[in-house]
């Protein structure tokens, strides 16, 4: 059966086409924009084309992180946490703790041996700990986003910055820049704060290995390094597929 999973994030929408719950035939990531209906429709069509699948062959469309009513061609919606657990379990059945570090939210999920989620914690109304934190810092520093994580690993000094409020942290970073603190140390400080914040959300539900990180921030090698230090465990990043797509896989598997 061909199933499609659509994960509509605040910044990016991700689509997965999967066959018989096993084979991933198509995948795509694009900015969500303002018109969710238009974007999801467009991405649905283009990803199917990429997969060489006709729309009529699709047996199921599950959306997550959005109300089904906003995506008229969807058959069902599934809570994000369910999709995260399923998607992570698909990647690795040994996973027990999943951390989804996205653009505006961090979700930590506990997964049982059978792949069902048993507990979860979510970052609430503060942007600290989310991709928005990094975005704000990158904007403040004018550095290319892609290299920012690696830069953190070149830092040699620990500088405490606010890990609660993005606005405060941004102001502190501006202060560091004007004091000519090397960018590598600033990046290190930001990543330590980010890792600290994300880890504390995960610790709320307890850390059990295998730990996996997904979502856009999983691509940040600086973050991974400092999270491993903070949690004192190995943090796995999916290698077979972009980490941002894992939730969409879980959605596709939910029917």
């Amino acid at each position: 059966m061909i199933s499609v999973g659509i994960d509509v994030g605040s910044k990016y929408t991700k689509v997965i086409v999967i066959k018989d719950d096993k084979e991933i035939l198509g995948k795509s990531i694009d900015e969500t924009g303002f018109d969710v209906k238009a974007k999801t429709t467009e991405m649905f069509k283009s990803t199917l084309k990429q997969a060489g699948i006709n729309e009529k062959e699709v047996g199921n469309v599950t959306v997550t992180a959005i109300r089904k009513e906003l995506v008229p061609f969807a058959n069902r919606e599934v809570p994000k946490v369910v999709a995260i657990a399923k998607g992570a379990y698909f990647i690795s059945p040994n996973v027990r703790t999943v951390i989804d570090a996205g653009a505006e939210e961090v979700v930590a999920v506990k997964v049982a041996e059978d792949g069902k989620f048993t507990d979860y914690a979510v970052s609430e109304k503060c942007a600290a700990g989310s991709g928005a934190f990094i975005d704000a810092m990158v904007n403040a520093l004018g550095e290319p986003y892609e290299k920012f994580g690696e830069l953190a690993l070149e830092g040699t000094q620990d500088i405490p910055i606010n890990d609660q409020c993005v606005i405060f942290a941004e102001s502190e970073v501006v202060g560091l820049v004007s004091s000519n603190v090397p960018l590598s140390n600033i990046s290190r400080a930001i990543h330590v704060a980010l890792a600290d914040r994300i880890s504390s959300i995960a610790k709320k539900i307890g850390i059990e290995e295998e730990v996996m990180i997904i979502g856009g921030l999983a691509n940040d090698v600086g973050l991974i390094t400092f999270m491993e230090k903070n949690l004192n465990v190995k943090v796995n990043v999916p290698s077979e597929i972009k980490p941002q797509l894992v939730t969409a896989i879980g959605a596709a598997l939910s029917y």
């Binding site: 599934v78 809570p79 946490v81 369910v82 989620f117 507990d119 709320k204 539900i205």
Partner: protein, 439 residues
């Protein structure tokens, strides 16, 4: 498709009318020559009632909750507080109350906005960090006398004569002060009568919510809110109705067998009561059977034993009658102080995280709950105390628990889609599918 309805409560309308009249009377009290005072909802209303038969009281928290129900008015009230520079994270009830008092407006239960009825005096119990300062600020701004009662003597299982006397002495002083500021002579006879009524009310409330230990629970939490702040209402009728339901095995929901029993912990999100409760009831057929808040806030419970365990057994009014034969002022004050200090469920939670933790753990067992949704309420610190402590305790026990964030009196801080998402996720955790997916 399965259609779920809330089983109608016959006396609900009567209670609604009583509540509406209560606020209307408050708004007109002084014009009619009566006396009006205002203070925390934990204030011992029997005390000032000795000043006469025409004494009305505006409880701060219930009023703020009533106000918060009106989303637009609540948002406007909160915005006003932002404009005048009162910290956004200050007690949310306080903020909307101050907004009413400072702007001189007052909202009735039907949404009509009238003039703020300036109390003759403010008198309050103080147990969180806000209570006394709440009323003081308004009192000073308006030049109205204010007094607060310090009841922070520790938990009920460590009471001794010195602690009780400390509170009773302040009560004696309060009465003398009330006589002075009102020019009225105090009646001990009235005090004694009202004291018995107050104790009876407390015992009755714990009895009422105790019925929800039955399966199915006869009443859901949202309806309970319509009753608990009404002192003089058709209580016997309500209790009989609930007893009938228990006898017949009738639950709070019609059209569905109770598919899950959900507990909360804090005050509810007043601006979105319907969106919160009815969503889980109608979509999933689960019964939100109550919360630590609604059980402990107004009931008299055995509460803490010597080991610090919380005993969820209602105190019998007959036992109190046997214990207290009230013949004079001091006895009435002492009975009041001791009952509240020893048996008020929520007051115990201010003295050790273990009390609250144990209360919550045993509550989930006694009420046979399937899960608990914890409200991370930014608007109230007093009741948020030790919340993460019992969150972890529940988790470690393997009891399904999830948290969600908001502000109980600020609609700007309540994200309905996100709340619904939390409920959906929690139901998925409990393995409870939406009703329409099973038809």
């Amino acid at each position: 498709m399965t259609e779920v309805k809330i089983r109608p409560i016959k006396v609900w309308d009567e209670f609604k009318k009583v509540r509406a009249k209560y606020y209307k009377d408050i708004s007109e009290a002084k014009e009619k020559g009566g006396l009006l005072w205002s203070g925390s909802g934990w204030s011992l209303a029997n005390i000032p009632s000795g000043l006469g038969d025409d004494v009305y009281f505006l409880y701060g928290e219930p009023y703020a909750a009533t106000l918060a129900w009106f989303k637009d008015y609540a948002a406007e009230s909160q915005e006003y507080m932002d404009q005048i520079g009162v910290a956004r994270d200050a007690c949310s009830y306080l903020r909307v109350y101050w907004s009413s008092a400072l702007r001189g407006t007052f909202i009735l239960t039907d949404g009509t906005v009238v003039k703020y009825p300036e109390p003759n005096f403010y008198w309050t119990v103080h147990i969180c960090d806000s209570h006394a300062k709440w009323y003081q600020h308004i009192a000073v701004r308006r030049g109205v006398p204010m007094k607060a009662l310090d009841v922070c003597v520790g938990p009920g299982n460590q009471l001794n004569e010195k602690k009780i006397r400390y509170v009773v002495n302040q009560l004696h002083d309060s009465i003398k002060w009330m006589e002075k500021v009102t020019g009225r002579e105090y009646s001990d006879e009235l005090l004694i009568k009202r004291t018995y009524q107050a104790l009876e009310y407390m015992c009755r409330w714990s009895r009422i919510v105790n019925y929800n230990k039955s399966v199915p629970a006869p009443i859901e939490e949202k309806s309970l809110f319509s009753f608990y702040t009404v002192f003089e209402g058709p209580w016997d009728k309500l209790e009989k109705e609930i007893q009938e339901r228990v006898k017949k095995g009738l639950g709070a929901l019609e059209g569905v067998e109770e598919r899950g029993r959900i507990l909360g912990d804090m005050q509810p999100p007043w601006p979105v009561l319907t969106e919160f409760y009815r969503y889980m009831e109608y979509k999933y057929g689960v019964n939100p059977i109550g919360s630590l808040y609604i059980y402990a806030i107004a009931g008299a419970w055995k509460a803490l034993d010597e080991k610090g365990n919380f005993v969820w057994e209602p105190v019998k009014f007959e036992e109190l009658l046997e214990k207290y034969e009230l013949t004079n002022r001091d006895e009435a004050l002492r009975a009041t102080a001791e009952t509240f200090l020893r048996h008020h469920g929520m007051w115990q939670t201010f003295y050790d995280s273990s009390f609250k933790r144990k209360a919550v753990l045993s509550m989930t067992e006694e009420w046979k709950a399937d899960g608990m949704l914890l409200f991370m309420n930014r608007g109230c610190e007093g009741l948020a105390i030790s919340q993460l402590d019992y969150y972890h305790a529940l988790r470690e026990k393997g009891f399904p628990v999830a948290t969600w964030e908001g502000n109980f009196a600020d609609p700007r801080d309540l994200d309905i889609p996100k709340i619904h998402h939390t409920i959906d996720t929690f139901m998925a955790r409990l393995g409870i599918n939406p009703l329409d997916s099973e038809s």
